[in-house]
């Protein structure tokens, strides 16, 4: 939904023109300086090629490990009763939602606006629950059922699945930050009468530099991440402080509205799988639910339920499109609780990705990962709390994240503030499973893991401070160029280690 607000909170209109000029000059100077320094950085390259390291032997990305998937299984330690519902959980996660008149019991509620019509279309690779697949699934969705959508310029057939956010409202000043869905249900045959919804003008947003992208985050192992004790996250934050200070690493938690640490999403803006699923269902698919019981665009009554559908077919009567069937026999066994709870259980029951067996190179690579300082943010592991879900209780989660947000510099900054995470701060992305990952960084700007590392480097400008990763990237780039007994440089060992995860 577009935010309409006739009384913006506060705008910094108190600056004199002289102050503005001096800020402008400072920014311009810093930008010129950054541009000069950028020249010395490795160029963005496709995987399989070397990055621009001059005459040194440069590490190369071997590319994603091929299928079969090393992720996507449920925990073997689920109880009999939990195991008994996993088939149905998978069915719900993979079901395709229609606007109305769907063939199954609970597959309606899509739109008025949407990015996709199923959880599984985006959370797809290397198995259900993951992230973007090599072939973009949106091309099979955007004009489904007669919809008249055009494909936004930033979605390509072999590119990542992404969502668009506009950092600012049309005035270019007032913060927006919300997702602007790519597609609408206009003219779909299952939305009879709905013709007026229009897609956002992404090209115009691009021309005013008011658009940012976020790719899909995988959901394997999130049940353990939910249950990592806050005391562990804070103890890790406060460990190795002299070393972190030397490298310029700080970081802080993003906070949930109950005062505890939020963990999910690119800016750690979500507390739990319930709020994550609740938001995704209404934001990504337009299926309103009990956590967020509004349709995502209420402008046109003809595009809101109930839709006229043939007798005997399924329809949504109104908000929320999805809810627990509270004792509505005889459907209770099938449809209770609602999709929101079942998505959460599905993701919570997915075990973490399985790394490949260590080799000499990957074992060396882990040592290099630690020695250059990657692990100071990409913290190797935490242990989950004792849990009422036995399969999740006291488990080691080797996720390679500190679950904190860090300043990543102007190079990665997306100008969107979410909770305590500011425009240039991002959660340390967990690295488990990146061995089979197709695209990297929040906006999926590269499929080359070496480039992804280099893009952690960014000098400060007048708006944002330097990336906290700068010294670590410098360490990485300064690794000795000699080839070790395993036939690889230390940098290559590190890359091989990452692609083993």
């Amino acid at each position: 939904m577009r935010r309409i607000d006739d009384s913006p909170m506060q705008t910094n209109s108190g600056l004199s023109s002289r102050q503005r000029l001096s800020i402008f000059l400072t920014v311009a100077l810093l930008m010129a300086l950054s541009a000069t320094l950028l020249i010395s950085r490795p160029a963005t390259v496709a995987h399989g090629q070397s990055s621009g390291c001059g005459s040194n032997p440069c590490p190369t990305d071997p590319g994603p490990r091929p299928l079969p998937a090393d992720a996507g299984a449920f925990y073997s330690a689920l109880t009999t009763n939990q195991n008994a519902i996993t088939t149905r959980l998978t069915q719900i996660f993979t079901e395709v939602n229609f606007v109305a008149g769907g063939p199954l019991v609970k597959t309606v509620g899509l739109g008025p606006r949407f990015n996709s019509n199923s959880c599984n279309s985006c959370h797809a690779y290397p198995a259900v629950g993951g992230s973007s697949s090599p072939t973009n699934p949106l091309f099979g969705i955007y004009q489904l059922m007669g919809a008249t959508n055009t494909m936004p310029y930033f979605i390509t057939t072999n590119g990542p699945t992404m969502v668009a956010r506009f950092p600012y409202l049309s005035d270019g000043v007032t913060p927006d930050g919300s997702v602007h869905q790519m597609f609408t249900i206009s003219n779909r045959t299952d939305a009879p009468g709905c013709t007026q919804e229009v897609q956002p003008n992404f090209t115009q947003a691009q021309s005013t530099n008011d658009i940012i992208f976020r790719q899909v985050t995988p959901t394997y192992g999130v049940g353990l991440m939910e249950l990592i004790p806050e005391t562990s996250i804070l103890a890790n934050m406060n460990a190795n402080l002299p070393l972190k200070a030397t490298l310029g690493i700080t970081g802080h938690p993003n906070q949930s509205d109950d005062g505890t640490i939020a963990r999910f999403g690119w800016k750690a803006q979500h507390k739990s799988m319930i709020t994550f699923s609740g938001e995704a269902y209404t934001v990504e698919e337009g299926v309103s639910d009990e956590a967020f019981p509004s349709e995502n665009d209420e402008t046109y009554p003809t595009c809101l339920p109930p839709f006229p559908v043939a007798p005997g077919t399924n329809k949504t009567k109104g908000v929320p499109d999805d809810r627990n069937d509270t004792g509505e026999a005889p459907k209770v066994g099938v449809n209770f609780p609602g999709d929101l709870e079942r998505f959460s259980l599905f993701m919570r029951f997915l075990q973490p990705p399985t790394p490949v067996a260590p080799t000499t190179s990957t074992t060396n690579g882990l040592a290099v990962f630690n020695s250059v300082g990657c692990n100071l943010c990409h913290n190797v592991s935490f242990t989950s709390s004792p849990s009422s879900i036995a399969a999740l209780s006291n488990q080691t989660a080797t996720l390679y994240s500190d679950l904190l947000v860090h300043d990543m510099g102007p190079g990665l900054a997306d100008n969107v503030t979410q909770g305590a995470a500011s425009g240039d701060e991002f959660r340390t992305a967990p690295l488990w499973g990146i061995g089979q990952r197709q695209f990297f960084l929040h906006d999926a700007r590269t499929n080359n893991i070496v480039t992804a590392i280099e893009d952690h480097y960014s000098l400060g400008n007048g708006i944002y401070p330097a990336s906290e990763a700068n010294a670590v990237i410098t360490n990485f780039n300064n690794l000795p160029t000699t080839v070790g007994t395993d036939g690889n440089t230390q940098a290559q060992d590190l890359i091989n280690f990452l692609r083993s995860l």
Binding site: N81, A84, D258, S272, I274, P293, E295, K317
Partner: protein
């Protein structure tokens, strides 16, 4: 903060005590008329707004109306929507039991336990109590039965009184720093409880926070009708905000929604409209108020070693087949349905006075924030479908001036902004305004007035309060009587 010591309900309690004593000591009968007279005099003083006591009023002229006090029991709120389906009605006992459940520390069954390590109360119903389950503070503060229950070694924070409102505490900044805090700091801990052996955990230092000006108090909001409020369309709220702009401009009224940072929809619940839905509200409250972790908020707020007695989350979906109506899904879903299915309060009978009062409510300008009604859209739950709800709120937040500002921003609501409180049910409400500062509804109206200072702009209600004070004595009293009829 509470200027008026003798509240309506302390008077009510005193009278009950006198009557109880009468049955034991017949000689007291001789002084009963005198005692009653004294109490009546005390009562009259109680119901004079505080601004009158000083002889001058801000704004001038002084209000002439008096608060007739809360309507007596029986409750005209509570109970479920009459249009629930037969299957929904079937689970009413289980959701009521969940709302009433007293939580101990140790989880002994899938629906039990989980209290603490820190908490404000041990049951939803403790605080959401009056005039019926789901409501707000009762006449006698129930926390006095909770704080040392089962051997707990808590002391009672200075701002809780035995016949005052239940108040929870938030800190503006983290203690001893200038780092923004804003979180609830729970009144009590489980230290000393028989079911929490070995736990050592001190209460927050509320006296120090108060001395440092760092303490914010909030009273309980009632939940009646919340299931209807949550489905009102955002666009209806926006359209109402953009209506009558000329009148609003002349009165100085603006206001804006507090948007959800998640889906961009308009949040509606809590003193600053900081919560979106009954699901999120019930899950949040379970963890924040009682310390019961759940699938939406699975982390203990305080993780002091030696004080953690249960695996988390403490309430979890019950996977046992065939028990759906009793135990499934988790506790927070059942409390969600309890508050989602409660009827709105029923107003008292209207009279010519209350009818005129409603007209004056409009004339003075109250209605430009306290919007008379919204209509729910088509909903998937038939009991909530297309119903006109007379809640008397625009569901957006407004600047209320330094006099009410609590210094605490929440989402899009600034430190001096509050959601327009729904007025349905205030006929039986015992305390008013976010911090429960008064039991007198005329004082509550007057306290909407506040001139600007260096920190905050003036209250958007100022001109409306001036208009109220300038109403004729009859019109003013009718307006107050109208409010007490809700």
């Amino acid at each position: 903060m509470t200027n008026i010591k003798g509240t309506a309900m302390s008077l009510w309690t005193k009278m009950n005590r006198v009557q109880a004593q009468l049955s034991k000591h017949k000689w007291l009968k001789s002084i009963l008329p005198l005692a009653l007279l004294l109490l009546l005099a005390a009562g009259a003083t109680t119901y004079l707004p505080k601004s009158v006591k000083g002889g001058t009023c801000t704004p001038s002229p002084c209000p002439t109306a008096t608060d007739p006090g809360p309507r007596p029991l029986p409750a005209t709120a509570g109970g479920f929507l009459g249009t629930l389906s037969a299957n929904e009605v079937q689970i009413e006992p289980s959701i009521t039991a969940e709302f009433d459940r007293v939580h101990d520390v140790v989880v002994t069954s899938p629906t039990d336990g989980g209290l603490g390590p820190v908490f404000n109360a041990n049951s939803c119903q403790t605080c959401h109590a009056y005039p019926a389950a789901g409501g707000s503070s009762p006449p006698s503060n129930p926390l006095f039965n909770v704080y040392q229950y089962n051997g707990a070694s808590n002391s009672m924070p200075f701002f809780e009184t035995s016949t005052g409102p239940i108040l929870e505490a938030r800190f503006i900044n983290q203690p001893g720093t200038t780092i923004p805090d804003g979180n609830v700091h729970q009144l009590f801990t489980i230290q000393g409880r028989a079911d929490a052996p070995g736990c050592t955990l001190a209460q927050p230092n509320f006296n120090q926070a108060s001395t440092e000006g760092n303490l914010v108090l909030r009273q309980v909001t009632p939940t009646y009708g919340d299931g209807l409020i949550e489905v009102v369309r955002n666009i209806a709220i926006i359209d109402n905000m953009n209506s009558n702009l000329t009148e609003k401009a002349s009165l100085g009224i603006t206001g804006h929604p507090n948007y959800s940072g998640n889906d961009g929809s308009i949040q509606r619940f809590g003193w600053k409209a900081q919560v979106r839905s009954t699901l999120l509200m019930s899950a949040l409250q379970m963890n924040v108020e009682m310390g019961v972790t759940n699938e939406t908020y699975p982390t203990e707020i305080n993780q002091t070693a030696g004080c953690l007695f249960n695996p988390v989350p403490e309430t979890v979906t019950n996977f046992t087949p065939g028990i759906l109506t009793e135990m499934f899904p988790g506790d927070y879903s059942r409390t969600e349905y309890f508050i989602q299915w409660l009827n709105p309060p029923t107003p008292g009978p209207s009279s010519s006075a209350t009818k005129n009062g409603k007209t004056q409510f409009t004339n003075a300008g109250c209605v430009y924030c306290h919007t008379t009604s919204f209509t729910t859209p088509h909903t998937s739950r038939p009991a909530l479908d297309s119903i006109t709800i007379s809640l008397y709120s625009d569901l957006i937040v407004h600047h209320m001036g330094p006099g009410l500002a609590d210094g605490l921003p929440q989402g899009g609501a600034g430190p001096d902004e509050f959601r327009t409180s729904p007025l349905w049910g205030i006929g039986q409400r015992l305390w008013f305004l976010h911090d429960g500062r008064t039991a007198n509804i005329v004082t509550a109206i007057e306290d909407h007035y506040s001139v600007a200072n260096t920190s905050y702009v003036q209250s958007e209600a100022n001109q409306t309060v001036v208009n109220f004070n300038n109403l004729s004595k009859t019109n003013q009293q009718d307006l107050v009587d109208f409010l007490r009829s809700l």
